[in-house]
């Protein structure tokens, strides 16, 4: 029963978000559905490993994922988190077919909807509404990236953390602190000091 229920809602959030950006007719929805790939990922499994070519954009129906890089000292640097309603990928690799520089893995068991490159190309050819959708998606990603860059360059650790928890309250609740520290470019010790200072003041 549970399984039937989740099969029926496999693409629910995807189309909800799509329709918020660009309203679709039921026919268009069916047309898109035929090219989508449903994919489950268990906690700690990879969607993408660095060096491979990123073959799809993943929309998160359920669960949480992160994209990260690994430096030469084997330290992980979190680039992005994604929870329900978000998309995650190595856009550079997806759009250029060059090897990916990110790893993407699941922080929780996840249900995803994948848009593969061949589906992407098919949609661009035959569905003008998709072009609008993907433009808005990439615009959003660009804005987020710019904000993040500015925040990392110009804000103090405490300001960064406050801004993060205010912008992404759900992620701050669900993701381990050391990953949030990594995302903000702080050591876990620094983040922990910042949090203590903030708590003491309250």
């Amino acid at each position: 029963m549970d399984r039937l229920l989740s099969l029926a809602t496999m693409y629910e959030l995807f189309f909800q978000k799509f329709n918020e950006k660009v309203p679709l007719t039921p026919e268009e929805q069916e047309q898109i559905k035929a090219y989508l790939t449903p994919k489950k990922l268990r906690k700690r499994q990879y969607l993408l490993q660095e060096g491979d070519i990123c073959k799809s954009i993943a929309f998160v129906e359920k669960g949480a994922l992160r994209a990260y890089t690994v430096d030469e000292n084997m330290n992980e640097h979190v680039i992005q988190f994604a929870i329900e309603g978000w998309t995650i990928s190595d856009l550079f690799s997806y759009l250029t077919a060059e090897p990916a520089t990110y790893n993407i893995d699941a922080l929780e068991d996840a249900e995803l909807v994948l848009i593969t490159r061949s589906a992407h190309e098919e949609f661009l050819k035959n569905l003008p509404k998709y072009e609008t959708y993907i433009r808005l998606l990439i615009t959003g990603a660009y804005i987020a990236l710019q904000r993040r860059l500015t925040s990392n360059l110009s804000l103090l650790a405490e300001e960064r953390y406050t801004s993060f928890t205010e912008t992404y309250p759900d992620i701050a609740q669900r993701v381990p602190q050391h990953m949030i520290a990594s995302y903000m470019g702080l050591t876990p010790e620094t983040l922990s000091r910042v949090r203590k200072k903030m708590a003491d003041r309250r």
Partner: protein, 220 residues
């Protein structure tokens, strides 16, 4: 590094299913083994891990869940059971590679139960219109997987399908299994491949190859 691919093998406790699972365990894949009898398929998974502790093989009791997780699905059930499997996994197999290994043989192994203008693979494609059905592993006997080099010669394994990227992925699987992959053409070639195996089965029974025989194309 190539991202680890997850392969669901439906019917993994059968002769062919178990043979394919064991041989793919050599590659960089995560295997989800399903069958109606979970104990049987668990035994196959245990055997794989025992022989190769680095392998990733897990018994799963539901073909829908396994196919949902998978990047590649192998339908290793007899032709007669394929329709039921296809109906179960249709939604979750959307846009995925589904490998058809079945040969639609009759009960006495001397003919096919399918019309001359079609094949098991094309019938499966009709049942899974949004999947990328690829014919593979139908011209190799189960015993060949343990011995892909027969009498000093590597057996060939034919592949047919319509999606170039999927053909490439399945060629890699075939190489991992130890065979020489030969892309025979579009999915419509499957009928020929299935009839080739009917011939090999008949020859096997006539000349007693002990089910260790295969095809090899001689060429310059």
């Amino acid at each position: 590094m190539k991202t680890i691919q997850t392969i669901a093998i439906i019917g993994a406790s059968g002769n062919m299913g178990a043979a394919i699972s064991k041989s793919l365990a050599k590659g960089n894949y995560r295997l989800l083994l399903c069958a109606n009898d979970l104990n049987k398929v668990q035994a196959v998974a245990d055997e794989i891990i025992k022989t190769n502790p680095a392998a990733s093989a897990e018994a799963v009791d539901c073909s829908v869940d396994a196919s949902w997780e998978a990047d590649i699905i192998i339908s290793a059930v007899p032709y007669a059971a394929e329709k039921e499997v296809a109906e179960k996994i249709r939604e979750v197999a959307n846009q995925k590679i589904v490998i058809s290994i079945a040969n639609p043989l009759n009960e006495t192994y001397d003919g096919l139960v399918i019309a001359p203008d079609t094949s098991a693979a094309e019938e499966l494609q009709k049942l899974l219109p949004n999947a990328k059905v690829i014919k593979a592993f139908n011209t190799t006997f189960a015993a060949d997987f343990a011995t892909p080099v027969i009498d000093g010669k590597q057996a060939g394994a034919f592949i047919a399908g319509n999606d170039p990227e999927a053909l490439e992925t399945v060629s890699e699987l075939v190489s991992t299994a130890g065979f020489n992959p030969i892309v025979a053409g579009k999915l419509a070639v499957s009928g020929t491949l299935e009839r080739m195996q009917l011939l090999l089965i008949q020859l096997n029974m006539k000349y007693d190859y002990n089910w260790l025989a295969g095809w090899k194309i001689l060429h310059q």
